[in-house]
């Protein structure tokens, strides 16, 4: 009889734990299937120099970062100054992927808010974005020396993230052969 009275309580506790765990997870964050895979093949013109291009080959040989941004993206507006500030202190091998933007808007953005990127690829149709599995801007990928995607950050990077997660990871990847 006593055992029976406890059963609903146990079920309730199990449910609370399950639902509580569910609450700690953000459904907006879809794990990237690209982690551990090579950078998708692409070749796009640069935002500032349309005659030159950025391609997957640029990601081989050194640890690098790809930051997906757009002038229409509100959270990028928050993230951008943090990247600019950070790039001044730490030499970052960071490329931009300008996602579904107008070139004139993108240029103005870089002029007003600063340009921390080695160069930004101009993806006006969003086709490279699909290959990278981009579904929300901003997104940031961290790529190792062999051109393998090792980490993906969805949403704007914060100063804390850059100091506590990004930097140690970059150092770790730098030490890999």
């Amino acid at each position: 009889m006593k055992m029976k009275a406890i059963v609903p309580l146990l079920i309730f506790i199990a449910l609370v734990i399950l639902l509580g765990y569910g609450l700690t997870r953000d459904p907006k964050k879809i794990p990237s299937p690209l982690i551990g895979k090579p950078v998708p093949v692409f070749k796009l013109p640069k935002v500032l120099k349309p005659g030159e291009s950025v391609s997957n080959m640029d990601f081989i040989g050194q640890v690098s970062i790809l930051n997906v941004w757009a002038s229409w993206c509100a959270s990028c507006r928050v993230e951008h100054p943090i990247i600019v500030e950070f790039a001044k202190k730490h030499p970052l091998n960071i490329y931009g992927l300008n996602y579904k933007d107008q070139r004139s808007d993108a240029k103005r953005w870089l002029k007003y808010f600063g340009d921390p990127y080695l160069s930004s690829a101009y993806d006006v149709t969003g086709s490279a974005g699909i290959d990278w599995g981009v579904y929300g801007v901003p997104e940031t990928f961290i790529i190792d020396k062999k051109g393998i995607i090792r980490y993906k950050k969805i949403g704007p990077m914060t100063k804390e993230f850059m100091e506590n997660t990004l930097l140690p990871l970059l150092k770790k990847l730098e030490n890999e052969s």
Partner: protein, 160 residues
């Protein structure tokens, strides 16, 4: 007066039907099977930005891009399987409204059945124990009384 209402409802109907057709009408197919495949596929793929809509229902920019991509891939002669693999390799199984059965999705697919079994087991047990309780409501004394009454009743009726 009546005529103007007829006009109004006519326009309303037109607007509604255009709304429903718009996603399909943008894409031209040379044969009906391709069109049907396109329609099925866009209803099976999730819009990863809006999360609870298919790319057929969503007006999000990305949903439009994905519809375009599906259209192009169908036109290029890709199979449904190839198109789904393409999407999954970029956006994980989450992009499928009908995810495959594999270790990662066992809970998703088998969970409801397991819960039903557990619930059924408890229901069975509670019904059975209730029956037992009802039976045990009658104690030995009462049983003897019943037997006596029944026996008397039988005597009475046989005497008639």
């Amino acid at each position: 007066m009546k005529k103007s209402y007829a006009w109004l409802s006519g326009i309303l109907l037109l607007v509604i039907s255009f709304n429903c057709l718009s996603a399909m009408n943008l894409y031209q197919f040379d044969d009906e099977t391709k069109k049907a495949r396109f329609k099925t596929l866009i209803h099976e793929l999730r819009c990863t930005v809006c999360q609870n809509q298919t790319i057929a229902d969503s007006n999000a920019d990305l949903a439009k891009d994905l519809r375009d991509k599906v259209y192009k891939m169908i036109q290029a002669g890709k199979t449904d399987e190839e198109i789904k693999t393409f999407m999954v390799s970029r956006f994980t199984d989450f992009v499928l409204y009908n995810p495959p059965l594999k270790p990662g999705t066992y809970v998703l697919w088998l969970g409801p059945g397991v819960l039903l079994l557990i619930a059924g087991f408890f229901l069975y047990r509670s019904i059975r124990s209730k029956n037992m309780e009802e039976q045990s409501d009658i104690d030995e004394n009462q049983k003897q009384r019943i037997a006596k009454l029944l026996a008397e009743n039988q005597k009475d009726s046989s005497n008639d």
